[in-house]
C-alpha cells in the first residue's frame, strides 16, 4: 500500500505546477510577462528551472497573476447625437419585435389547420408554417439586432480584457482531499484483505459483460435466408405494379425493360426485397451471355450465367445491386448498361451483367428463365448465387 501512496504523495509535491502560486491553472502556461522577464529561463536547464523562482519567491508571483487594474467604464457616449439616433433605431427594432410576436400569436389563432379548412389541408399547413416561422424569426432577429446596435453604437466604446480566474482549488483543500483518500484507503483495509479485494473485482466482471448478451436482442441470425429467394422452378414472372404474367410475344420490343416479381409474392415486401428482378429484351444477336461457373471452394462448380437461361433474347437479372443493395435499374438500351443510382456501379447487361464501372464487387445474379406450357415466362430455378450485397459468410 504505502509504496504506491508515497509515490503519489511525492508526485503531488513535485509537480512544478504545485510549487507555483495557486492562481495558475495546472496545464496552462505561466503568465507571459513571467517568462519574458525571467532571467533564469532558457539557460540550458531542464525547463523546470524556469518556474522555480516562483516557488520560494511567493511574493512576486501573485502580483503577476493578478488581473490588471479595473478601468472605470465611462458613463457617457462621446458622441451623444449619434447615440440618440441609434437609440431610436434600436427602440424601433424592439417595437417591431413586439409586433412580430403579437403577429405570431395572431397567426397561430387565425390560421387554423383542421378538417374545416377550405381547400387543401397540406397547403393550409404550409401557409401556417410560413406565417409562424416568419413572425418568430422577425421577433427574435429584431431583438438581437437591436441589442447589438445598443452595445455597438449607444454604449460608450471601451474595450476590456478580463483575466481568466484560477480554476484550481486552494492548496489546503487539495491537501485535505488527498488525506481523506489515504485515510479512507487505510480504514477500508483494501490492501490488507486480498479476499475482499479480489471478490469485489470478480463481482464487477459479469456486470460488465452483461451488455454483450443484449446484442442478441438485435434479432435472430439470418442463417441461410440470405442465400435463397422465393423464386423456384415454375414460378411465373409478374410485371411489378400491374401483377400480370408476361409472354415473350407481349414483351417483344427490343430495348424493353421491366421490373418483375415472383407470382404469389407480389405484395410480400420482405420476399421482394431479395427476389425483385428485371427482364430486358434485346435485339437479336446482342445477347452474348458467357457460360460462367463459380470457384466452388468445396469443389462443386455451380453454373452462374448461361445463354440457356434466356428466352427469345430476354434475359433476367436481380434488381438488387451487389454493392449495397440499391435497386439497380437505370437501363440504357443504347449501350445495354444497367446503372445503380446510388454509387454509379455499371453492369453490362448483354454479357452477363458484368461490372464495368463502380464499386460493385460482382455481377448481378442472373435468374434462369424459360416459358411454361401456356407460353408465360417462368423461372427455371432460384438464383444460383446469393443476391445483393456481400456478407461475411458468403465466401
Amino acid at each position: 500500500m504505502s509504496d504506491n501512496d508515497r509515490d503519489n504523495d511525492r508526485g503531488l509535491e513535485d509537480t512544478p505546477a504545485e510549487r507555483q502560486p495557486p492562481h495558475r491553472v495546472i496545464g496552462t502556461p505561466p503568465p507571459a510577462p513571467g517568462i519574458l522577464t525571467d532571467p533564469e529561463r532558457g539557460d540550458g536547464d531542464d525547463g523546470r528551472k524556469g518556474t522555480t523562482p516562483y516557488g520560494p519567491g511567493e511574493a512576486e508571483a501573485p502580483e503577476l497573476a493578478e488581473a490588471p487594474e479595473l478601468e472605470e467604464l465611462p458613463a457617457e457616449n462621446p458622441n451623444p447625437a449619434s447615440a440618440k439616433n441609434w437609440e431610436r433605431v434600436a427602440a424601433t427594432l424592439f417595437i417591431v419585435s413586439a409586433l412580430a410576436s403579437v403577429g405570431f400569436i395572431a397567426a397561430y389563432v387565425g390560421l387554423e389547420v383542421d378538417g374545416d379548412t377550405k381547400g387543401n389541408v397540406v397547403v393550409a399547413t404550409l401557409r401556417s408554417n410560413l406565417a409562424l416561422g416568419s413572425a418568430m424569426s422577425l421577433a427574435f432577429l429584431a431583438i438581437g439586432i437591436g441589442m447589438v446596435i445598443w452595445v455597438r453604437n449607444i454604449m460608450p466604446p471601451v474595450e476590456l480584457a478580463e483575466e481568466r480566474h484560477p480554476m484550481a482549488s486552494p492548496e489546503e483543500d487539495r491537501q485535505a482531499f488527498a488525506e481523506t483518500i489515504i485515510e479512507g484507503a487505510e480504514a477500508s483495509q483494501i490492501t490488507k484483505r486480498p479476499l475482499l479485494r479480489r471478490t469485489l473485482i470478480a463481482a464487477t466482471l459479469p456486470a460488465a459483460l452483461a451488455p454483450l448478451v443484449l446484442l442478441r436482442g438485435l434479432g435472430p441470425l439470418p442463417k441461410g435466408s440470405l442465400r435463397t429467394t422465393v423464386w423456384k422452378k415454375g414460378t411465373r414472372l409478374l410485371v411489378y405494379g400491374t401483377n400480370r404474367p408476361i409472354t415473350p410475344a407481349a414483351f417483344d420490343s427490343p430495348g424493353g425493360m421491366i421490373t418483375v416479381v415472383p407470382e404469389g409474392y407480389q405484395d410480400n415486401d420482405e420476399a421482394l426485397a431479395k427476389a425483385t428482378a428485371i427482364i430486358i429484351k434485346m435485339e437479336p444477336g446482342q445477347l452474348q451471355i458467357p457460360t460462367r461457373y463459380n470457384d466452388g471452394a468445396d469443389g462443386a462448380r455451380t453454373l452462374l450465367n448461361s445463354m440457356n437461361w434466356t428466352v427469345d433474347n430476354i434475359v433476367a437479372y436481380s434488381k438488387i445491386c451487389t454493392h449495397l443493395g440499391c435497386p439497380a435499374a437505370l437501363y440504357e438500351q443504347t449501350t445495354q448498361r444497367i446503372l445503380c443510382p446510388c454509387h454509379q456501379s455499371t453492369f453490362q447487361a448483354n454479357t452477363g451483367a458484368t461490372v464495368i464501372f463502380g464499386p460493385a464487387p460482382r455481377p448481378l445474379p442472373q435468374l434462369p428463365i424459360a416459358t411454361n406450357a401456356q407460353g408465360y415466362l417462368v423461372a427455371q430455378s432460384d438464383f444460383q448465387e446469393p443476391v445483393g450485397p456481400s456478407f461475411w459468410e458468403r465466401g
Binding site: 460608450p156 421491366i258 449501350t335
Partner: protein, 275 residues
C-alpha cells in the same frame, strides 16, 4: 492586385468577399441546373397525299443521316418499324433533326410545324408499322389514378428521371431529361418508343391505362406548390442542404463579423484599447 491589397483591410471588405462568394456559388448552381424547354401541340390523322408530303420533307431533312430509304447508316438508326409515335416525339420535341452529334440529342424548339410532323410520321409509318401516335383519349388523365401512377413511376421511371421528374445523369454524358415541359402525349410516346437510352415500355407490359396513371402522377406532381416558394430543382435533400448550408452559414458569418467588428473611429479617439 495593389488595388485589392490597399483595400483589403477596409471593414466592408470582409462583407463584400463573403457576398461575392455567395453570389458566385449561386450563379454556378443556376448554371448547372439551368433548364431548357419547348412544347408541342397534339393532333392526329393520316392519308396518302400526307405520306407524299412526308417523304419530301424526309428526303430533304432526314435522309442525309437516316438514308434515302430510311434504312439507317453508321451514324443513325434505321427508321423502318420505328413508327409514327417515335417521329412525333423526336421531331415534336425538337430533338430531330439533330443539331450536332453528341452524347444526347438536346431538346430545342421544333423545326417543323405540327402538320409537317404528322406528314413525316405518316411516311415513316408507311415504311413498316411501329407504334402509332397515341390518341387524345389514350393520353387524357381524366379519371386516372395518380396513386397507382406513383407506384409504377417509382418502380420504372424514378431511378433515371428522379421521383419528382427532375431528370438525372446517366453514363458518358447522357442524361434523363426533366419531365417539367413534356406534354401528356410526349410522355406517352417516350414510354412507347424508348427514345435514345430510355427502355421501351410497350402497351402489353405497361397497358394504356397504367401509362395514363403515370402521366397523371407526373402532371399532378408538377403542379404542386413548392414549400417556401423555391423548388431548388426538386432533387431533394442535396440542394436543400446546400442552400441551407451556404445561406445559413453565410448569414451566421456575416452576423458574427458585424457583432465583433471593431469600431475604428472611436478607437483613435480618447479611449484606447488595453495594451
Amino acid at each position: 492586385m495593389r488595388w485589392i491589397t490597399a483595400r483589403r483591410r477596409r471593414p466592408l471588405f470582409g462583407y463584400a468577399a463573403v457576398l461575392l462568394a455567395l453570389v458566385a456559388v449561386g450563379m454556378l448552381y443556376a448554371a448547372v441546373t439551368g433548364l431548357g424547354g419547348s412544347t408541342a401541340s397534339a393532333g392526329s390523322g393520316s392519308s396518302s397525299s400526307q405520306i407524299a408530303e412526308g417523304k419530301d420533307l424526309f428526303d430533304t431533312s432526314c435522309s442525309s443521316c437516316h438514308g434515302l430509304a430510311a434504312q439507317g447508316s453508321s451514324v443513325a438508326p434505321s427508321l423502318v418499324g420505328a413508327g409514327a409515335a417515335a417521329v412525333d416525339f423526336q421531331v415534336g420535341t425538337g430533338r430531330m433533326p439533330l443539331k450536332e452529334v453528341g452524347a444526347e440529342a438536346a431538346q430545342k424548339p421544333p423545326v417543323f410545324n405540327q402538320r409537317q410532323i404528322y406528314a413525316i410520321a405518316a411516311y415513316v409509318a408507311s415504311l413498316g408499322g411501329g407504334p402509332a401516335i397515341p390518341t387524345d383519349q389514350q393520353v387524357s388523365t381524366a379519371g386516372a389514378d395518380a396513386g397507382n401512377g406513383q407506384s409504377l413511376f417509382n418502380a420504372n421511371c424514378a431511378q433515371c428521371h428522379n421521383y419528382s421528374g427532375a431528370g438525372g445523369a446517366l453514363t458518358d454524358g447522357k442524361y434523363a431529361p426533366a419531365l417539367t415541359n413534356a406534354t401528356n402525349r410526349q410522355i406517352y410516346e417516350a414510354m412507347l418508343t424508348g427514345p435514345e437510352a430510355m427502355p421501351v415500355f410497350n402497351d402489353e407490359t405497361l397497358p394504356s391505362a397504367d401509362k395514363r396513371d403515370i402521366i397523371a402522377y407526373i402532371t399532378q406532381t408538377r403542379s404542386e406548390a413548392n414549400p417556401g416558394g423555391f423548388s431548388l430543382g426538386r432533387v431533394g435533400p442535396t440542394t436543400e442542404g446546400l442552400v441551407a448550408w451556404l445561406g445559413g452559414i453565410g448569414a451566421l458569418v456575416l452576423a458574427a463579423m458585424w457583432i465583433t467588428a471593431k469600431r475604428r473611429e472611436e478607437r483613435s479617439g480618447e479611449i484606447t484599447d488595453n495594451r
